[in-house]
Amino acid sequence: MSDLLSQDFLVALISGGLVAAMPLLFASLGELVSEQAGVLNVGLEGYMLFGAYLAFVVAYNTGSEWLGLLAGIVAGAAASVIMAMLCVRLNLDQIVIGIAIILVAEGATSLLHDARYAESRPSLGSPSELEIPLLKEIPVLGESLFSQHAIVYVGIALAFVIGWMLRRTSAGLSVRAAGERPEALDAAGVSVTATRTWATLCAGALGGLGGAYLTIVGAGSFTPFITQGAGFIAIVIAMLSRGTAPWTIVGAVLFGMSLSIATALQLIGVEIQTDYVQMLPFIAVIVVLVLFARRSYLPSALALPYVRGEK
């Protein structure tokens, strides 16, 4: 068991975990913001898929990773416009529309991929890494933490920025009010619809970025259904973070590591069925919920449409 502390194992665990965690981190950060504003994006998986596909197409055709990531943001945000139009403006059911967005995204991206790339199956080159001088010389941590794609550091910084904005800025206050007590926000003269629309677009953009990361940095190519439920896991992480953005880092890395631990264990000759490991974080969360079940996990107006003057 002393192998568990070997350098190869730890590097594989931590850096693999980080790679797997990033899509979850971006998506759950976006979802967190929109949940705080009272919009539940069940369609997060759909934003990620659109983001993943467009990011791949742009990165493949322009050869630029950053343009690809940008395209992912745009695609995700565009998909969330549907959500904002139908659920925030027209007050349609958020869960129904969310499922519709997932289905359309799964079908459309698979169809487009099939029509254009099914035979050639192109892939991007390996992603560039930003190595931080000095820090990367630290054993284990240096190799795993400080030689990642630059967007990884952006993501971690973003968690703190969003956390700060939600707690310390008036925009953040508006977002939280829109989810907690929309009528109060309305009375204060801030548009609930506009606040929720921006929050939804934020979920779309970050979900799209998470999807873009999956194809550009993670897999290097697009395959249909590439997200494999990551959108749903991100929703779970966002809900468990209870409105405190930095917690999404903990959640995402935990889930990410449980996805990478099977590969890391193989490196030191331990074969473990991936099914067990992938269940672990969910079991842990359920156990925590059973032991510490408490009320008010979520904004009180979550998934409820706001109609002015209606009790």
Partner: protein, 382 residues
């Protein structure tokens, strides 16, 4: 009577319009991909509905979907979001496939069928217990808990199939295959199996349960207004657990039906992800069991025919996801327009229209007066 017929007509129209719009939009997508949409839809209906072989295939496909629909209706009517159908389905399927071979050996065909179905139903129902209690007692959002239990269920099903239930025969990890003549008996001279009958009976039973029994009424009250349910002396926690248990049991049973009727064995990583496809249909039918029965069979025709038409047109059959997603989007928009503009009301006599109008419509909710009181008020003001 007339109001009832009109309401049925309106419900049919409201369900049909989004389907037609989705078919049109999907056709435009096909045309954009350089395929002939008319040929595609022609193929689809020929292979899924008109050809006897294909029609049987569609009916067979509809059996597990109907059971899932039945299960979802019970939960959704009680305003409980059971989004964990895939886990419940796969657990039922894995247990059935795993237990069937040894039960066959020791007890014979019929006891095996009955026991595996019972086990699958109990497992599916039990899988909802934690989300139900957390929701009922502590108000923990059931969307997140059922989703998580679903992921765990998928994992457990695979662990079972790759471990204790694994066949000795090499290749992909799977359970021992149940021979054709030891599965569900077939109906008459068709290939349609008993599972379809079970599914239809189940969805009809759910219809009766939800519309004709006191339990159904209590569940609907719970769904409409949990606080009112509490004031009316109902026990929300118990009702929540019960609704979830029935829902999970029916969905677990659907896994059993899929194995005993179609698959015969459970291969590792088998996951048809039926849950996400059935949810839209149940909504399209506005949580009505009879409507769901019709729509699920129609969808099975589209799916079976569509898979074959997609092969013919050389597109991936994932195009069906687009079709179903679009149906759902159009349904939501149509529903909105119907309520907002009172669509279709112009052709209805005013006194009938008054009864048809949804109670929570704009303005109606503001006055909030029950209808007889309005008449009484007019008498009083004279």
């Amino acid at each position: 009577m007339r109001a009832r017929a009109l309401r049925l007509g309106e419900a049919t129209l409201v369900a049909a319009i989004p389907i037609v719009l989705a078919l049109v939009a999907n056709g435009i997508l096909l045309a954009a991909l350089g395929r002939d949409p008319f040929a595609f839809y022609g193929d689809m209906f020929e292979r899924g509905l008109i050809e006897w072989q294909g029609f049987q295939e569609s009916i067979i496909r509809s059996a597990p979907l109907l059971l899932i629909a039945a299960g979802l209706i019970v939960a959704f009517r009680a305003n409980l979001w059971n989004l964990g159908a895939d886990g419940q389905f796969l657990l039922g399927a894995a247990l059935t496939a795993g237990l069937a071979p040894s039960l066959l050996e020791s007890l014979g065909v019929w006891p095996m069928l009955l026991i595996t179905m019972a086990v699958a139903a109990v497992a599916g129902g039990a899988w909802t217990l934690i989300p139900a209690i957390l929701r009922g007692r502590y108000g923990v959002n059931e969307i997140i808990t059922t989703l998580m239990m679903s992921f765990i269920g998928i994992g457990v099903a695979n662990v079972l199939v790759k471990g204790p239930f694994k066949t000795d025969v090499g290749g992909v990890a799977r359970t021992d295959v149940v021979a054709f003549d030891e599965r569900f008996p077939l109906l008459f001279d068709t290939r349609i199996h008993l599972g379809f009958v079970i599914a239809v009976v189940a969805i009809l039973a759910v219809h009766v349960l939800m519309t004709r029994t006191s339990l159904g009424l209590r569940l609907r009250v719970l769904g409409a207004n949990p606080r009112a349910a509490l004031h009316a002396g109902l026990r929300p926690v118990r009702l929540t657990v019960l609704a979830f248990a029935i829902s999970g049991a029916l969905i677990g049973l659907s896994g059993s039906v899929e194995i005993l009727g179609v698959q015969g064995s459970f291969r590792a990583d088998f996951n048809p992800a039926y849950g996400l496809l059935v949810i839209p249909l149940v909504f399209l039918a506005r949580l009505n069991a009879i409507g769901s029965l019709v729509l699920v069979i129609a969808f099975s025709v589209i799916q079976i025919g569509g898979e074959s038409a997609a092969r013919q047109a050389e597109v991936t059959s994932d195009i069906l996801f687009v079709l179903v997603g679009l149906m759902l989007l159009f349904m939501a928009v149509i529903e909105y327009l119907r309520v907002r503009l009172g669509l279709g009301m112009r052709f209805v006599p005013p006194e009938v229209a008054e009864r048809l109008r949804p109670p929570s419509g704009e303005g109606g909710a503001a006055t909030g007066e029950p209808r007889p009181a309005i008449g009484a008020g007019e008498v009083g003001s004279r």
